[in-house]
């Protein structure tokens, strides 16, 4: 059979009626011509010729502009798509500077070791062609001891990651004197990854880095690269605490791209179960590869990668038996040599199909792939475009296809293609002044250099913190300086990915006498993830929690094969401590500020796999958790609610459904996990709260001073109070989410309404208002009316 070109293949697909039936959207993005500029005159001629040899005859316009800004000492953030040559925007100025002044140093920060290695390889090949004496090294946990000294003294470009910078480099900065005294550039790649808790920590690591540069008398230029998000400049400026120039218009030419959102058909309408995304994925990938169309497939788990790889290898073993690499898997965990081999195989078109987890989303140029199939939504719009960007770099047409899985997030995207294709609503939010996080880094900073009176670190009153630490005995004040006065090493006491560094260790006791630690769960999640009797899942294995030892911080588990998973039930109540901002909308009072949250895990549901049936409940006896954090909330005056012709019970159902929807939408806007924020429905003054009990909704009333559970919804004195929906940060001290939600309030509600109205389910489902068992059958009908009330349509 004759082979089709990609154009022909797409055309054929568009005529396939049964395929089209399940398509949620097809968008043809037109090709874009390139916008070029000549190399500026100051670029070293040898460097120019090497870059030309590597394919860059001229520079893209955005590259030329960016490097001009950088040369003038301005900090920049680049937000151009994959394959637009962002790497050149930093490698060129860095190499140029080193050629002009051989003692120049640069620091490259990447989020993962694999990415660091790939980038090192990239700059290394430029240097080799330049035949210049420029040394680049990665410096991370794997760097052998005897290599470390040489790297510190001689490395022109040092490539590292945030954890190494935090615990390995900054606290030993005197050993890096040569680097810091000559540091001209700091490159931060994948800036959008530094959000939430990780981002808040990272911003503080940068504060310490800048402080140390100041000690050595340098003021390096920051060059940041980010995926497309709604607020790249704001994000960069928040991390760097200085003005940053934004470059988001790419001058790189792109091929025409057909983008398809495909939703596998329903196989069980009642329960809402769809055909597995793997089925169309493998058929389509096989078809493309058979037509010699080079394809990359992204799957959301290692298991799925293995399954697809095996299927495709088996399929082609008959036609291409000699070639083991014709179709191959790819993982960040593969050794660098193997990864280089696969990448070169892709460039040479010896490898026609590659299946990967998101590792290749981060990585260097792999050549001219034509098609990209994503099996399951990668979790954010930014990630999806990064993956899709792997197909069709230069000419012709390219294809990107997102195949949805059954989970709510995927389904949301399918039902709301506008959300996906319009301007990104995804924001990167951080709170570098979270008190707990800030405190840790002030300690680390004091270890690195004593603090002097009048110094600033962060947005809080530094001297108060220093006095506090003095009282605690870790700092000692002499004249006007605070010195580190303890034996410990503060960088070891903090993990950059959590607020409370004390984790609960999960111990597998399946084999008697051979207990082993299989995971660590951070303290904040432990109560819901590993309470007694919970089913804990790790790498597709199930474990039953026999005992959670709170004092010893250990969870003892045993491997099981169960047909259900558990979902913890938490009673939450929220009390307002301070309101930072508020405004009155047509139908509600909207605010954000500081709250006190008390949460108690009271039990759990047993939920059957695949069908999501409820198999029963269990009790849990755990202490309350009390924390202060930040929240966004809005209150609806009860008079307005009365105007709707619903019973009090129905109104509560509706509000619960709305809270559920907003919770999930907020997580999407923030590119956060649904566990990073939480919701509560109650009364602003803290008199009563709605929680999910075993037999349905429970109203917990605090009116008499002590909590009182009222099972009878209609008896709830809801008519006497104004209901409030809270969406708060799950972490003590707040992570910076609530301010954004406050600003996006109207958009969130409009999106919620649209989502619910469009959802094809009958009465409600996990994709819109939540399982009907929790929100009742009328929720779906009521919520849109409530929203109309709030935003005043």
């Amino acid at each position: 059979m004759a082979k089709l070109t990609l154009n022909e293949w797409v055309a054929r697909l568009k005529k396939n009626k049964s395929f089209l039936h399940s398509v949620a959207a097809i968008v043809d993005i037109p090709e874009k011509v390139g916008d070029w500029e000549d190399y500026p005159s100051w670029v070293n001629p040898q460097l120019q010729s090497v870059l030309k040899k590597h394919g860059m005859e001229r520079l893209y316009k955005h590259q030329a502009q960016a490097i001009r800004f950088i040369r003038n000492g301005k900090d920049v953030v680049l937000v151009t798509p994959t394959a637009s040559g962002k790497t050149l925007c930093y490698n060129l100025p860095v190499l140029q500077s080193i050629l002009e002044e051989p003692e120049t140093r640069a620091l490259y920060i990447f989020p993962t070791k694999a990415l660091a290695q790939d980038q090192m390889h990239e700059i290394y090949s430029l240097i080799t062609d330049l035949k210049a004496d420029i040394k680049t090294f990665t410096y991370d946990g794997d760097t052998p001891d005897d290599a470390r000294q040489a790297i510190r003294k001689q490395g022109h470009v040092v490539v590292t990651n945030p954890d190494m910078l935090h615990a390995g480099i900054l606290p030993h900065h005197t050993k890096w004197q040569k680097l810091f005294m000559n540091l001209k550039y700091i490159v931060i790649d994948e800036l959008h990854i530094y959000r939430g808790i990780f981002g808040s920590h990272f911003a503080n690591v940068i504060r310490r880095l800048v402080r140390i540069c100041r000690f050595y008398g340098t003021n390096p230029v920051f060059i940041c690269c980010s995926a497309t998000v709604a607020n790249p400049r704001e994000h960069a400026e928040k991390i760097l605490e200085r003005e940053v120039a934004l470059f988001d218009k790419s001058g790189a030419p792109t091929a025409a791209k057909t983008f398809i959102l495909y939703n596998p058909p329903l196989v069980n309408r009642e329960l809402g179960i769809r055909q597995s995304a793997m089925t169309p994925a493998r058929k389509i990938a096989a078809d493309l590869i058979e037509n010699d169309i080079q394809t990359i497939v992204f799957a959301t788990s290692r298991l799925n990668v293995e399954v697809l790889t095996k299927y495709l290898k088996d399929k082609f073993v008959r036609t291409k038996p000699q070639d083991d690499h014709f179709v191959t898997g790819y993982r960040g965990g593969y050794l660098p040599n193997l990864r280089r081999e696969i990448e070169s195989g892709l460039r040479e078109r010896e490898v026609m199909g590659v299946i990967s987890t998101n590792a290749l989303e981060l990585g260097i140029d792999i050549g001219n792939l034509e098609a990209c199939i994503m099996v399951g939504y990668p979790g954010s719009i930014a990630s999806t475009w990064q993956q899709a960007g792997r197909a069709g770099r230069r000419t012709g047409r390219s294809l990107a296809m997102l195949i949805a899985r059954s989970n709510p997030l995927d389904q949301f995207i399918m039902e709301n293609p506008d959300y996906f294709f319009s301007l990104s609503p995804e924001h990167c939010r951080i709170n570098p002044d979270n008190l707990l996080i800030l405190l840790h880094h002030i300690k680390s900073a004091a270890f690195e250099l004593p603090f002097e009176k009048g110094e600033k670190f962060g947005g809080e009153n530094l001297e108060e913190f220093l006095q506090y630490l003095e009282e605690k005995g870790v700092l000692h004040r002499t004249d006007d300086r605070w010195h580190w006065a303890a034996e410990s090493y503060p960088a070891d006491e903090v993990s950059l990915r959590s607020i409370n560094p004390e984790n609960v260790v999960v111990v597998d006791t399946t084999e008697a006498g051979k207990h082993k630690v299989i995971a660590e769960v951070d303290w904040d999640s432990a109560f819901t993830a590993v309470h007694d009797e919970a089913i804990y899942m790790l790498a597709s294995e199930q474990y039953h929690v026999d005992k959670l030892d709170l004092e010893g911080k250990k969870a003892y588990v045993r491997k099981v094969d169960s047909n259900y998973y558990t979902d913890a039930m938490t009673y939450t109540n929220v009390r307002v401590i301070d309101s930072f901002e508020n405004h009155k909308d047509a139908g509600a009072i909207v605010e954000h500020g500081e709250v006190q949250v008390v949460r108690k895990v009271v039990g759990y549901k047993k939920i059957k796999f695949y069908t999501s049936e409820n198999l029963g409940y269990g009790d849990v006896n755990l202490p309350e958790k009390d924390m202060h954090t930040t929240s966004y909330w809005f209150t609806i005056p009860r008079d307005r609610l009365r105007k709707l012709n619903f019973t009090a019970a129905e109104i509560i159902d509706g509000l619960s459904g709305l809270a559920y929807t907003l919770h999930h939408l907020s997580a999407m806007y923030l590119m956060a996990d649904t566990h990073d924020i939480d919701r509560s429905l109650g009364d602003k003054s803290g008199e009563w709260f709605v929680n999910q009990g075993k037999t349905g909704r429970i109203i917990t009333s605090f009116g008499s001073g002590r909590p009182e559970n009222l099972d009878d919804k209609s008896g709830a004195r809801i008519d006497e109070f104004d209901p409030t929906i809270f969406i708060f940060d799950s972490y003590p001290g707040g992570i910076g989410f609530s301010e954004l939600l406050y600003r996006e309030h109207a958009n969130l509600l409009t999106a919620a309404k649209s989502l619910i109205e469009k959802c094809p389910c009958a009465y409600g489902c996990p994709s819109c208002v939540g399982p009907t068992l929790e929100v009742g059958k009328t929720a779906k009908e009521i919520v849109p009316k409530i929203v109309e009330l709030i935003i005043g349509e």
């Binding site: 030993h172 005197t174 250099l449 809080e460 006095q467 003590p732």
Partner: protein, 435 residues
Amino acid sequence: MNSIEKLKHLTGEKTKAPEKPSSKQVQIDELRRRIDTITSRRLHQHQSVSEKKFDADKINLSEIVAGEETENDHGRFFLASEVVRGSSRHGHRNIRETFGLDMKAAALLANEPSIAYLNSSDALFLDTETTGLAGGTGTMAFLIGLGWFEDGQFHIRQILARDFGEEKAALAYLGEIAGQKKFLVTFNGKAFDVNLLTTRFILNRLKSDLAGLPHLDLLHPSRRILGHRLENSRLATLEAEVLGVEREDDIPGWEIPQRYFDWLRHRDGRLLASIFEHNRLDVISMATLTAHLTEILTAQEFIQNSDAGDYLAAARLLLKRNGPDGAEKILSMFQEQSCAEFSYISKKQLSHLYKRTGRWREAVQIWEEIAATSPTDFSAISELAKWLEHHVRDYRRAQMLIEKALDQEHAFSAEERGSLLHRLQRLNDKLKTAR
């Protein structure tokens, strides 16, 4: 609520009810208890300190440690000075015996040839006491102990930064002294002390060439030469087992950082006294240890308080650095000794040294002695067989030797048996062609 109150709430610190003693009071009581335990220990024999309990009066440092406040361009610090007479005893030696070190031997111990051209008065002995072992920029060397030889005496200086603000002046003084000396002697200084001091110089924006000085770090040669008979290579162990130094009530190393932090808050001299003493003894021990090690390398005869194994280890070191001639003197010493009392391992090591330096007669003698008492000792049999085969060329005797050994059942491991058979085969072939 201000930030700190919020912070305290977040970290779960609750405010206590007023009837409990204030935290400050609790701290002082705790400190009082600690000081009491300290002062109830007897201190250095030259200084008598009344054992009365801690009362409100602090004791000044200068009343308890022989030193005084000193000033230079960078500020003030506390300096304790001492001149140790040659006749003083430290362990097995008089201090006088540590003068006039053999510099070639010292260079060998340090693996640093330039030291051979220096004098022992060019040495700067250095040991620091620090606020922690973590390393990194947050650790300070609050006490720097120095020692050197001058005019027939051993001078000691102990530089104390009484507070963080005095560190710069203390380091500057160290820099001055180091500038007059030409090489360093430390114990584990290469990995720790010098790195730390270099970091402190940078943090205080002072220039220093400490890291560039030739450096004899006694840890490594001690391990090499004495490690075979000691359970670890700590200075304390070496002191006790080899140098014969006994310390009374020595402060354990792990207590030192906290002691200094307590001093910062309470400025009672008694807190630091034992640290000074500990540091002082460390410096003197390094001097006598250097003397001891160099003497082993240059020995003409077995000296007291040494072990045959020490000399063998030294011989191996000399062999490595200087080639076959290096171990001459030591091996001559052994030639005059009966090795009957040596341990098996020592005998083997000695025989190898003899072999490598061409002293076949002595080597064979040992192998024969070993074979006589243990007829199935693989290495002795092998070596004798090799010697007979390649040097004496008496294939017959070699053959008989191996056959006799192989006759013993269960005597050798499979590998050893294989090796002997292989050799036997070769001998048989040679004997055949000879006919």
